[in-house]
């Protein structure tokens, strides 16, 4: 039966938008926590920790996000861990985000003048205090624009969950497209929803990038 493209269809796409936002938020927060660890490891004093973190980042930057999701989705059951599509996608995106955020924040940490770290060290501050009170606050400021920029990439990336069959914005558009036979409208509306989320974020990122460029 071919359905009309009515309010029900519009609502189901908008509901998908909510799921997309929730998924992106989970991945961003999870990625943020692990990303901090990756960034600290990448800029640590131990060589091996740096190498491992660099390999971790290279892996995620050198393979397609879709493959990363596939590996988690098909890989977890192999190790006897059975999870829902939601969890699998969230885990996959979290790994992905942690590598990218880790690399962005490493750049921020290393952009903080080395002398500050040494001065803090000379004042007798320990590693935790040095990072928490001196380096990280400045690093966060420096890497704010690229971090917001990455969040746009992450939100767009959540669309790949649709390929696994997880119902978010893209997948609900796909369902609507196949039940109403109006793919142009369904995908157009989905695109507009993504645009409504991503465009403001892109502007914010560009604004802070410009402001930082003017300062330096």
């Amino acid at each position: 039966m071919i359905r009309d493209f009515g309010w029900f269809e519009v609502l189901s796409i908008i509901q998908g938008m909510g799921t997309t936002l929730a998924l992106a938020a989970v991945a961003f927060i999870g990625g943020g926590v692990f990303g901090t660890a990756v960034a600290l490891a990448r800029s640590s004093a131990w060589k091996w920790l740096r190498i491992i973190a660099a390999a971790y980042i290279d892996f995620f930057q050198g393979t397609p996000m879709l493959m990363q999701l596939f590996l988690v989705y098909y890989g977890l059951p192999v190790f006897g861990i059975h999870v829902s599509a939601w969890t699998a996608v969230a885990i996959g995106l979290t790994f992905h985000a942690s590598a990218f955020l880790g690399e962005i924040w490493r750049g921020g940490i290393q952009a903080v003048p080395k002398g500050q770290n040494e001065a803090a060290s000379a004042l007798g501050l320990g590693y935790v205090s040095r990072m928490r009170d001196v380096v990280l606050p400045q690093a966060i400021k420096l890497s704010f624009a690229p971090t917001v920029g990455f969040s746009v990439q992450l939100i767009k990336g959540t669309s790949l969950a649709a390929i696994i069959g997880f119902v978010e914005l893209s997948r609900s558009a796909q369902i609507v497209a196949s039940t109403t036979y109006k793919p142009l409208l369904a995908y157009g509306l989905a695109g507009a929803c993504y645009f409504a989320i991503c465009f403001p974020l892109s502007r914010v990122s560009a604004y802070y990038e410009r402001r930082l460029a003017l300062k330096t």
Binding site: G62, M67, V78, L184, G191
Partner: protein, 222 residues
């Protein structure tokens, strides 16, 4: 763990996988070249005196950059046929990827153009060069040096993005993997191998690009 890994069953599929790698590389490189040309045209449009052209270029860039590639592919492959424009999966993939690369290239090229002092354009104009000549000799060449790293990164990104066109069953590495998967039901092994293939391709090309950068663009700037 009761699952036993078996990579051996994949061996007969090697020729197929290597051929798929070539298809992926072919798709990525043609789309990046095409995207670069689209990018130049877009930058020219953004700098033109005609307001409508500027508005079109700007909306093109913002729409492409703020929507997922998957939706763009679906829009072109499933959406456009309803208004009478239909493509084969491969053509749709090529068009979608080219348009995608075009928007990102335009931003990269614009960054390079902005890096060139304004006085040079004016000097070019004063010497009697046409706007196109100014663009070609005074803007594009020095800008190319500035944007080279970002542009080569664009190729790697396109290479990884091609995996998404498997969703409209355009023939490339990921769709080949899905095909093999439906033969063997050894999803995990296949996707590990294919992921590593992507990693190898990306690593090879980023090494080559770094080499080119060192040889051709390494002399002191300014």
């Amino acid at each position: 763990m009761t699952y036993t890994f078996d990579f051996g069953t994949l061996l007969p599929y090697w020729p197929q996988l290597l051929y798929a790698c070539l298809l992926t590389l072919w798709l990525a490189s043609t789309a990046v070249v095409c995207g670069f040309i689209i990018g130049i045209i877009t930058v020219l449009a953004r700098r033109s005196g005609v307001k409508v052209l500027r508005a079109i270029a700007l909306s093109y860039i913002e729409i492409i950059r703020n929507t997922p590639f998957l939706v763009q592919v679906f829009f072109i492959f499933f959406g456009l046929p309803t208004v009478g424009i239909s493509f084969t999966p491969w053509t749709a993939a090529f068009i979608a990827l080219s348009l995608n690369c075009g928007a990102f290239s335009a931003e990269i090229i614009r960054g390079g153009v902005d890096a060139i002092p304004r006085g040079q354009f004016e000097a070019g104009a004063a010497l009697g060069l046409t706007p196109l000549q100014v663009f070609r000799y005074i803007i594009l060449k020095p800008a190319l040096r500035v944007i080279y790293p970002a542009l080569s990164g664009q190729f790697i990104l396109a290479l990884l993005t091609t995996s998404i066109v498997s969703s409209i069953s355009a023939e490339e590495l990921t769709s080949t993997a899905q095909l093999i998967d439906s033969d063997l039901f050894r999803s995990f092994e296949i996707y590990i191998v294919v992921t590593l293939l992507y990693l190898v391709l990306a690593t090879i090309f980023s090494t080559i690009f770094k080499g080119i950068d060192r040889v051709f663009f390494s002399y002191p700037i300014k």
